[in-house]
Symmetry: C2
Subunit: 341 residues, 2 copies
């Protein structure tokens, strides 16, 4: 494995000259550059990243923090899709990606500390957002550039950068759609209770009901973490009531598949007996029976924007925090119909 010195010697120049050629410094003559480059090719020379990072105090690597494995994560196509967006932009920017492997929340916090203190990464993308996440204050304290996908607590709203959907609005809209279909008894199946997306969905859901003058029935509101089983559980809770809902708003497409399955097994027909809507528009939502009416939130774009925002944060560390809101779009399919009495 050759070093900069080998190249220098063979090219008959000083190591610093080779370094300048690598950086494509304008102060080096074309002739020298050519000669040095030839030698580099000949030797198959690649700069040692560690030596380079050591002096540069930068790594060109972004740390990607996954939620703890205990929480829905990799099973849900949300993550692969957001990663696809991040990957595309990172590749564009010549950034590398370093992944957290922690299985528990404590693990992950430790990993983040290590990433930052050991200078493993120049910036971080958090793929989730929950209340009271100790990682956010930590990153803030360390002045490490980072972006959260989702949103921080109100407390940090103006100091941390994030990429999010307007989940309140999205939930409000999808609920309004259900209301327009003449449904009045509408259930809400939220995700993990400490995720901001859940809180925001609930807020939008309630706004829609209130605006329609419909009283909020707390027994119609349930929460579940687990991806399919959660949906199935939730259906039991909702449908066991004396006057069950005629429509449900579900946190996530995958959970909605669980809902569909349980409903079907109970003998309900969707959408004739009960309408189902959800969020995310992952591929699967189109293939279910019936295909789901769902809110597309442009997951790929969330990832793409997060990567581009973290690049900006790294480039200008003094830049103030920035929020980017990605759009959403209702995709009408066949899991919803007008209520008939």
């Amino acid at each position: 494995m050759s070093t900069i010195k080998d190249v220098a010697k063979l090219a008959g120049v000083a190591p610093s000259t080779v370094s300048r050629v690598i950086a494509d410094s304008p102060k080096i003559s074309r002739k020298t550059k050519e000669r040095v480059r030839e030698v580099m090719d000949e030797l198959g020379y690649y700069p040692n990243v560690h030596a380079r990072n050591l002096v540069n105090k930068a790594t060109n690597v972004i740390g990607i923090i996954m939620p703890s494995a205990s929480y829905a994560p990799f099973q849900n196509p949300f993550f692969p899709e957001v990663l696809r967006g991040i990957t595309a932009q990172a590749n564009e920017d010549k950034y590398g990606l370093y992944f957290s492997t922690g299985q528990t929340e404590e693990d992950i916090l430790e990993e983040v500390k290590e990433m930052v203190h050991s200078r493993r990464v120049d910036g971080i993308i958090l793929l989730y957002s929950t209340t009271n996440d100790p990682i956010i204050p930590f990153l803030l304290k360390e002045k490490c550039p980072f972006v959260v996908i989702g949103r921080p607590s109100e407390q940090y709203e103006h100091v941390v950068s994030y990429v999010n959907n307007d989940n309140v609005k999205a939930a409000r809209t999808i609920t309004e759609y259900v209301l327009l279909l003449r449904h009045e008894r509408i259930g809400f199946i939220g995700g993990r209770k400490d995720a901001y997306v859940t809180l925001d969905h609930k807020e939008g859901f309630e706004q829609a009901l209130q605006a329609a003058g419909i009283e909020i029935n707390p027994t119609y509101i349930v929460y579940h973490d687990e991806i399919f089983d959660g949906g199935e559980q939730a259906v039991i809770e909702l449908m066991a009531q004396k006057t069950p809902p005629t429509a449900v708003v579900v946190a996530d497409d995958l959970m909605a598949l669980g809902v569909l399955r349980m409903l079907t097994s109970m003998g309900y027909r969707v959408p004739e007996d009960i309408s189902v809507v959800s969020f995310n528009n992952v591929l699967m939502s189109e293939l279910s029976a019936p295909p789901l009416t769902t809110m597309d939130i442009y997951i790929y774009e969330l990832g793409f924007q997060a990567a581009s925002l973290v690049r900006e944060q790294i480039a200008s560390p003094l830049m103030e925090a920035q929020a980017r809101i990605v759009g959403h779009k209702l995709v009408r399919r066949s899991s919803t119909s007008r209520r008939i009495d």
Copy 2:
């Protein structure tokens, strides 16, 4: 940000002593260790990984190579699941994960070269295996420890380590199952033609037919890359024939969902009119209508074993190549039934 020198000064020892404390060298007195550790805590000291990697010539990082985005990748739950296995084992072993971001095959080869030459990683896991992949000879030439998930070409069989299923056997078994259900006209929908898993599936499929004394009908064998659409396309090709098959063996659960959908839209009933089997047993295969009979290949285990194998390769570079075969298991559900004429 404090360095080893700061710690040394504050603790009243030499930097080399601090280094020994970090390594928990037995030659350092307990008293000194305690004092140094206190100071490290006080200062919030973390070793700089680049300085360390520079002298150690090791990184404790594994490179993960995804297939090019043009090939089915992230959409398919196979990848998240295999990653989950890798992550779990890597975390255990205190290895970090560095991801490729390349979008094209050339991109990816370049990235691999950079990873290896720049000493970014100690070893590599290839998440796919295709014929004529230039990455394998490259890694071999560089003597970089690596493991492929899937298998290398026969040419390299004894020199590269891999973790695979016995895909020939698995395909043979699932085909035999279909044969036992009295089907004789059986279609085969393979995946990407240059993937070894496809070749092996086909081999097993044909073995089963031959053993049953059934002639192989080339018009019953089709290939498709794209995940759902491929399944749908394939159905058209297969069912448009004068005597269409009464059962199909599909490369992948997701593709099978496409198959199911197209079949349904054409008015065929599954399994009454036509039986469908596939491979992988991803979560979704249980939720389809009807739930799929599929071959579980223990994807998580593939990832887990790959990570543990690459660790071994890194630890003993002279160790000879090793193959690990993960089991498989037929999961009978409702997409198959006895042929009735």
